[in-house]
């Protein structure tokens, strides 16, 4: 077997695993295909997701389903104004019996962490989480503890209630690979959702019994490595840079995306290509994932914000005007 066909087989297997995972999650999370895809792209690209959506749209269900389908650990932290960094990362406690300090690990030591309403916690606590996300390790009492792999944080923000919140600064937002918007499902999807969730259910328990494990955490790491090998042509690279640079002097954008955005876009485009069953990135892969990569990395001008424009409006405009690769 040649090296080329081996790589091809690895990519094919990775692609199949991704599609299985996607199909499995779609069993419980109804009507949010795009959100599922973007979450999986973030997982495959080894990033973290900031989810914005109104309460009750299935954010917790989404992460629970993902955790179960991957067979990883799941933790949930409800961010509140009095939440301390050690409540997330863990701390050292004195063991009276052994007369030694013992490390108590926080909820961050898991594969999938749901940080609910991250903007309710003060900046100090947000920073603790974001640093752990960046470095993939936690330092407690001077000792570094690596986080389990895969590690995905899905932080949520409520776009409506801004009273008493600590909005994430632009620099912190940049650490999230993707910003996913969860919208209301369509009428048909909502009917199906209500029917499915309420069938033989008592109370508000989230039912993820339909989910079976289709991939292991180790497989996820393999898929992540495979995604990094997806072929990227030079013109695609140029296209990505053109989009990101375009955001810097686009009318209506006060602060454009930085080079980290271009890197993120390439990583996500690779994951997207793999999820689409390709072993090379096409302009379509880039264009499909670009809004989720860029929408939290740009800042609209005050006048557009006042007029009710959203980053997606301007990004769609930008993408419609950046020339696609031609060769």
């Amino acid at each position: 077997m040649t090296a080329v066909s081996e790589a091809q087989q690895t990519l094919d297997a990775a692609s199949a695993r991704i599609r299985n995972l996607e199909a499995m999650i779609a069993r419980t999370v109804i009507g949010q295909r795009r959100v599922i895809r973007e979450l999986i792209v973030a997982l495959v690209a080894g990033g973290h997701v900031l989810v914005e959506g109104l309460p009750g749209l299935g954010k917790t269900l989404l992460v629970r389903s993902l955790a179960k389908a991957v067979g990883g650990n799941f933790s949930r932290v409800q961010f509140t104004p009095d939440l301390m960094p050690s409540d997330i990362t863990g701390h050292a406690i004195f063991d009276m019996k052994a007369e030694t300090f013992r490390i108590r690990r926080g909820p961050i030591f898991c594969n999938f962490l749901l940080g609910d309403e991250i903007n309710r916690a003060p900046a100090k606590t947000q920073s603790a989480l974001l640093e752990a996300m960046q470095e993939e390790q936690v330092t407690i009492e001077g000792s570094a503890f690596p986080l389990a792999q895969p590690f995905l944080v899905m932080a949520t923000q409520n776009p409506v209630e801004q009273e008493g919140t600590y909005p994430l600064p632009q620099a912190q937002l940049d650490r999230f690979l993707l910003n996913v918007h969860i919208a209301y499902p369509s009428e048909v999807e909502e009917r199906q959702l209500v029917r499915q969730v309420t069938a033989n259910a008592v109370g508000n328990q989230l039912d993820v019994s339909a989910i079976t494990q289709v991939i292991t955490p180790e497989d996820v790491v393999t898929v992540q490595k495979a995604a990094a090998q997806v072929d990227v042509d030079e013109v695609i690279l140029e296209y990505i840079v053109r989009i990101v640079r375009g955001s810097r002097n686009w009318q209506g954008i006060e602060t454009g995306a930085g080079p980290r955005a271009a890197i993120a876009l390439l990583r996500c485009a690779r994951a997207q290509a793999l999820a689409n069953g390709n072993f090379f990135v096409t302009p379509d892969d880039v264009k499909q994932i670009a809004p989720a990569v860029l929408r939290h990395r740009i800042k609209l001008t005050a006048d557009l914000e006042i007029e009710g424009y959203r980053p997606d409006d301007v990004l769609n405009d930008l993408l419609a005007n950046v020339e696609a690769p031609r060769r």
Binding site: V235, N278, F279, T282, N321
Partner: protein
């Protein structure tokens, strides 16, 4: 000017009484004057807020600076109303150009800080004088009085007190929970609420004071003219004139008769005695009145000496005629001559700085203009004019596309052959079937366009072609010659004959 129709009583007044008259007039017609002020000021306010909303301090400054723009309309209405003419809103609206534009630039620039603004406003607006005539008139009107300047100063002070008072009243009435520890803190940050509130109250104060200021200045102008042109004397005479109209005719007839009857007699006597005609006339007067010339003279002197008739008084005052420097004093000051030179240089520097400031302001406004209208528009995605670096025109394709593809395949240039096939397909779709393919369209988007507008078999062919093309272009997987031949056959079926519908 029909003085008889003036609503105010014309009498001799001092300048201060004139200002008082203006305040009475303003009180009398406050509401229409106030409304008129807002009519001009409100659009300016909205414009200033729109253009300078980022710096509320500049908004306040702009509104204050544009005060000469709000006042002419008030004066125009007042000048008509005081003489009994009532203007409708339509008439006012029709006159705005002739009322506002004269000397607008000068009033908003060089003369903006002039203290006699309200006093001199009628000169340019009602008398419509320009240039040297205006200057002369202003010199005459402004000479020997300072009430106009005091009116401006007092008005400005009242304006400040009123505006500040309203602002403080609001701040004191607000519950302390709603205020930060130091109220002035709300003037900073992203929401300079205090400055906006101050602007609002200041505008209100300006609107309230303006009718009094304009009416005061106008009344002062009338008073000054009344002093100079003796309207207080002219009017009683005009009132007396109708009463003496019958007597005037009789007096004229008497004079005529007297002249015809007496002058020839006197002339004859003068001829007889050889004395001059003047003496004859005097004698004749003596004969007719029975009073001698000397008696008349002494009577006139008595009347003129009476204090009730008038008196002459000599007053002395100091007038600065400039320093008469002695030669040694001039010498003493010579070392300081450089100060004058520095002052001269500074003067030019100030002019340059002012020019720069004006330039900056114009650029700022130009930036705002560029920023305003276009921000709401969404750019339409441009339609592709080139693909693969080549123009997308039917002429850019070889005459025999299929033959060219075969030649490329035979030459082993599979990628070029597939590229030509894909490009030829897009050219046909755009030119024969009018598909609008923007420059930003990806292969997938082209596919969706074709699927939505073309037949299913054609769409299936295009999907196959796109798949082969993307694998080749981005995945670097070359198609086989057989694959290209298959695609070329399909292409011939759909596109070689040109448009089929």
């Amino acid at each position: 000017m029909q003085l008889e129709q003036m609503a105010a009583n014309v009498r001799y007044r001092t300048s201060w009484e004139g200002v008082d008259l203006g305040f009475v007039i303003a009180r009398q017609w406050f509401m229409p004057l106030w409304g008129l002020w807002w009519l001009t000021a409100l659009p300016i306010t909205l414009l200033a807020v729109l253009l300078l909303h980022r710096s509320p301090l500049l908004v306040g400054l702009a509104l204050w600076w544009c005060k000469p723009l709000y006042e002419p309309m008030l004066l125009f209405w007042l000048s008509r109303r005081l003489f009994g003419e009532t203007l409708s809103w339509r008439e006012l609206a029709g006159q705005w150009r002739t009322v506002l534009l004269p000397r607008l630039l000068a009033n908003l620039s060089l003369w903006r800080l002039g203290g006699n603004r309200s006093l001199f406003l009628p000169v340019s607006q009602l008398e419509r004088l320009h240039g040297a005539q205006r200057r002369k008139r202003i010199k005459v009107l402004g000479g020997g009085q300072s009430a106009g300047i005091w009116l401006t100063l007092v008005g400005a002070n009242f304006e400040m007190i009123f505006g500040l008072g309203l602002l403080l009243l609001l701040l004191y009435l607000l519950p302390s929970q709603l205020l930060p520890e130091h109220p002035w803190l709300i003037s900073g940050g992203d929401r300079p609420l205090l400055i906006w509130l101050a602007n609002g109250f200041w505008l209100l104060a300006m609107s309230v004071i303006a009718p009094f200021y304009v009416a005061g200045g106008f009344a002062l102008y009338l008073t000054r003219r009344s002093q100079l042109e003796a309207w207080d004397l002219e009017l009683p005479f005009r009132h007396m004139a109708p009463r003496f109209r019958a007597a005037r005719a009789a007096a004229l007839v008497c004079c005529a008769l007297l002249f015809m009857g007496l002058v020839p007699c006197g002339g004859a006597r003068a001829a007889e005695s050889g004395t001059p005609t003047v003496q004859a006339a005097r004698s004749a007067a003596d004969v007719t009145t029975g009073i001698g010339t000397e008696q008349v003279r002494s009577a006139i002197k008595q009347v003129l000496a009476d204090p009730a008739f008038g008196k002459e008084k000599t007053e002395h005052y100091w007038k600065y005629i400039g320093a008469k420097r002695k030669p040694d004093e001039k010498k003493r000051l010579e070392p300081f001559a450089w100060i004058a030179a520095v002052a001269e240089v500074l003067k030019y520097l100030l002019w340059v700085a002012a020019a720069f400031a004006l330039g900056w302001l114009l650029m700022y406004v130009a930036q705002l203009r560029a920023w305003l209208p276009r921000r709401r528009t969404t750019r339409a995605a441009p339609i592709a004019t080139t693909l693969f670096g080549l123009p997308i025109t039917p002429e850019s394709l070889p005459d025999d596309v299929v033959g060219a593809i075969h030649a490329l395949v035979e030459a082993g240039q599979l990628r070029a052959a597939l590229s030509l096939l894909y490009r030829a397909t897009l050219v046909r779709l755009m030119h024969d079937y009018h598909l609008r393919i923007p420059e930003s369209a990806t292969e997938g988007e082209c596919q969706r366009l074709v699927r939505s507008q073309r037949s299913e078999p054609e769409s299936a062919f295009f999907s196959q072609l796109t798949q082969a093309w993307t694998r080749c272009a981005y995945g670097h997987v070359m198609p086989t010659p057989a694959n290209i031949a298959l695609l070329t056959d399909s292409w011939r079926r759909y596109y070689e004959g040109g448009r089929d519908d």
